[in-house]
């Protein structure tokens, strides 16, 4: 297990593509792991206090990591626990393992993720499980759970997997979605535009965009793309 604690309040954002695999390296390797502080190329050890207990693939991030980006990106196994807030791109492209954030997350949680699990106890913002600009498919496997609220663009171009939001969401939920499930326990705005497939379930209020036809248990569409997506209230 490897524990990281910021040494300073970051003036500008830090990019640290750290995965649980880091915990299996030697203390020297960990300390010398390259990160970016603004335009400065620097070492993990220069920005964070490092304490290592054993070699199991687990990261504990203790403190305010809201300015730290790309944590858990591309991880394939192991565990990350964030005790505070976390920055953008948490678990982007991840294929396996588990991330738990006890605070809030920013944008791009689980973007294009293929497997594994992400749980955010607080809020997340935009682009949860989405595709990066110009890419065809967002999240395609695994599960993302947000206990709080999220903002816009949730599960866009989603090709599989599951997103569950316990709070409210903003607009553009499941836009151009192809497969998978999005569940929202609160309310949200525009839902399902250009949806080709998959299921969106909302408990509270929501706005279906024109292009969906009413069916027995909800709506089906988007007819504008010949889609067979399902939107239901539960």
């Amino acid at each position: 297990m490897l524990k990281l604690k910021p040494k300073i309040d970051f003036e500008v954002s830090v990019e640290a593509e750290i995965t649980p695999q880091l915990a299996t390296l030697s203390s020297d390797e960990i300390s010398n792991f390259q990160v970016y502080y603004g335009k400065e190329k620097t070492k993990l050890g220069d920005l964070f206090e490092i304490s290592k207990e054993g070699d199991d693939a687990k990261l504990v991030l203790d403190g305010d990591f809201s300015m730290v980006k790309w944590v858990g990106a591309r991880m394939d196994d192991g565990e990350i626990v964030v005790k505070g807030d976390i920055g953008d791109h948490l678990g982007a492209y991840m294929t396996g393992g588990k991330i738990v954030v006890e605070g809030n997350a920013l944008d791009w949680v689980g973007a294009e993720m293929k497997g594994g699990e992400i749980v955010v106890e607080g809020n997340a913002r935009n682009y949860v499980g989405c595709a990066y600009w110009g890419d065809m498919t967002g999240m395609s496997g695994g599960k993302i759970t947000i206990r709080g609220n999220v903002s816009n663009y949730i599960g866009e171009k989603m090709g599989g997997g599951e997103i569950e939001i316990f709070g409210n969401a903003g607009d553009f939920i499941g836009t151009e979605m192809k497969d998978g499930t999005i569940t929202i326990h609160g309310s949200c705005g525009f839902v399902g535009g250009d949806m080709k497939g998959g299921v969106i379930k909302v408990k509270g209020s929501f706005e279906v965009v024109p292009g969906f036809k009413k069916v027995e248990d909800g709506f089906e569409g988007d007819v504008n793309v010949g889609g067979k997506g399902k939107i239901t209230q539960f």
Partner: protein
């Protein structure tokens, strides 16, 4: 600073001068290739080229490297820009998968031993933009071909058979756009697209003008020849991308039969692969390459380039706006379109060539068939970058043309449809190194009418590529991997007498020239003066006085005066 070079003991292949793998020394002074006696050997920097191939710098005569099309392509495809080739430092940051930034274009050509590249389609009203991008490409010499085939002046003058005016217009437009030659894209078809249509045959009438593609092409060849331009009409045929279109292509080529020119072709038909389909639909589409090859080989006034697809990502971008819309409907992919004043239009659609896709495999095979079946002094190697894919894979095409064994290996991974619908598997021809150098150096230079390019004779520009390949010992038919690797990165790339790349690393950033053709003394511009005023007043959204590009605005212009 070494102004003199002594390239020692290289094995020279220089088709224009009939040199085939001869061990010799090359001397360079002030950017030119000179006699040994011109060089103070003690002062000259010596490059040991022992056992290495020494050739003229590569010449890409048809690529889309500058202007609003490639730039819109970049803007619509950020996923293309995530490939990092070089981190900023002594050189600029260089990025791009197939679509490259301007610095990356110059750098990648240089690393591959190419020293000249021409932008093959410049929207005339956007000429200044095209030139800004050309000016942003380091390392190589450049030029741009403005597009004429749907320009209302051309349609009007051809319809009225006002040949003198057409000639004057060509000269005026080349001067205003600082252009190099007469590019024609789907003549008449793009004007028809403004009404939702197209011109798929040579005899379709262009809406609003009493004129057909046949007349436009013939008229433009005639006046390009009368104007005495160094490059011929450069034609993207009608009916591109349609099964059965090879017949349109041959019919189009026949339009050149009554013209001839001692120095060069009178018609260059470009990226012919896209215009070489037999069959009647995408279900029974087949190769028409053999028929086209037969025709091209039988005449001496036509040249072509391949338009070879490379498996992987590409972006279709042409002035053939109706075709681009068809492609968008076929693939469901993103689509940009630009209708451009009264000059024509353009479109952009991302594509990927997949080896297992029957149509893509067919296109790949047809490109190779054209390259293999057509005489090496009539067919230029091109991918129609980025339409067929990256120019950085020219070495792949070179190696494929030289090795049947490599082709057999590649055929195993592509759709079996190729076996049925093309003759590729049965072609035994293997191009020689000499022929490949011809197809990438001397021929493109001749096609463009550039006497100082594409060869290593005395007086030629000192644009030289040295490769880790010994022509005297290499077995190009069997050692295709070595051939590919050698051509991917030069041992040395020398541009205008300066070493700009070495062993695949950049050495020095330099800025090449932009050539443009001034033929205004061969025509009477006054003849069209009042027409220009009238058309600008009525149909353009800008003033005639603000139209065009001044030489002073360009980084390193070079005017070629047509005598």
């Amino acid at each position: 600073m070494h102004h003199m070079l002594h390239i020692k003991n290289g094995i020279v292949v220089d088709p224009k001068n009939g040199i085939n793998a001869e061990k010799m020394d090359i001397f360079v002074k002030e950017g030119k290739i000179v006699e040994e006696s011109e060089v103070d050997v003690k002062e000259a920097k010596v490059i040991d080229a022992s056992n290495k191939l020494v050739v003229a710098g590569g010449f890409d005569m048809h690529a889309h490297i500058a202007g609003s099309k490639i730039n819109t392509g970049r803007e619509m495809r950020p996923e293309e820009m995530r490939t990092v080739r070089l981190i900023a430092g002594k050189f600029r940051a260089s990025i791009g998968r197939v679509l490259l930034t301007s610095p990356a274009i110059g750098y990648e050509y240089a690393k591959m031993g190419y020293t000249t590249a021409f932008e093959a389609a410049q929207p005339p009203v956007g000429a200044l933009h095209t030139h800004e991008e050309l000016d942003a490409i380091p390392m190589i010499d450049k030029a741009a071909l403005p597009v004429f085939g749907n320009w209302h002046f051309v349609l009007k003058y051809v319809a009225e058979k006002e040949w003198e005016k057409l000639r004057a217009f060509l000269a005026w437009a080349l001067e205003r756009t600082k252009g190099f030659g007469v590019k024609v894209v789907n003549p008449g078809g793009v004007e028809a697209w403004m009404y939702g249509g197209n011109c798929k045959s040579l005899d379709d009438e262009v809406p609003g003008f009493n004129v057909t593609p046949r007349e436009i092409i013939t008229g433009l060849i005639q006046e390009t020849e009368n104007l005495g331009l160094c490059h011929s009409v450069h034609l993207h045929c009608n009916n591109l991308g349609t099964p059965g279109n090879y017949q349109t292509t041959i019919e189009t080529m026949k339009l050149a039969s009554k013209f001839s020119n001692d120095k060069r072709q009178v018609l260059h038909v470009t990226h012919v692969q896209f215009n070489a389909y037999a069959g009647s639909s995408w279900r029974d589409v087949a190769s028409g390459a053999a028929e086209i090859a037969k025709y091209v080989n039988s005449v001496d006034n036509i040249t072509i380039d391949m338009g070879q697809p490379i498996f992987g990502h590409a972006t279709a971008m042409t002035g053939d706006a109706p075709f681009q819309f068809t492609l968008h409907k076929l693939t469901g992919s993103r689509w940009s379109n630009k209708d451009s004043e009264i000059e024509g239009g353009a479109g952009i659609v991302p594509i990927a060539y997949l080896p297992k896709n029957p149509v893509h495999a067919l296109q790949w095979a047809i490109g190779l068939e054209l390259g293999l079946l057509i005489d090496s002094d009539r067919v230029v190697l091109s991918t129609d970058y980025p339409n067929g894919g990256p120019f950085t894979e020219y070495p792949y095409v070179m190696a494929m043309l030289m090795s049947k064994k490599m082709r057999e290996k590649e055929l195993e991974r592509v759709s079996p449809y190729v076996q049925k619908a093309t003759g590729l598997a049965a072609i035994d021809n293997e191009k020689t190194l000499y022929e490949i150098i011809q197809m990438t150096r001397s021929l493109p230079a001749r096609v463009m009418g550039m006497d100082n390019k594409g060869h290593l004779g005395i007086g030629a520009d000192a644009d030289i590529a040295i490769y880790n390949l010994d022509p005297l010992s290499i077995d190009t038919a069997n050692d295709f991997e070595a051939v590919y690797k050698a051509f991917k990165t030069s041992a040395y790339t020398i541009k205008g007498g300066e070493i700009i790349a070495k062993d695949g690393e950049l050495v020095k950033e330099i800025w090449g020239r932009t050539f443009w053709v001034d033929a205004t003394s061969n025509a009477s511009i006054e003849a069209i003066d009042s027409d220009l005023n009238e058309m600008f007043e009525k149909y353009y959204s800008l003033q005639r006085q603000n139209y065009g590009v001044e030489e002073a605005w360009l980084r390193k212009p070079e005017r070629l005066v047509m005598g």
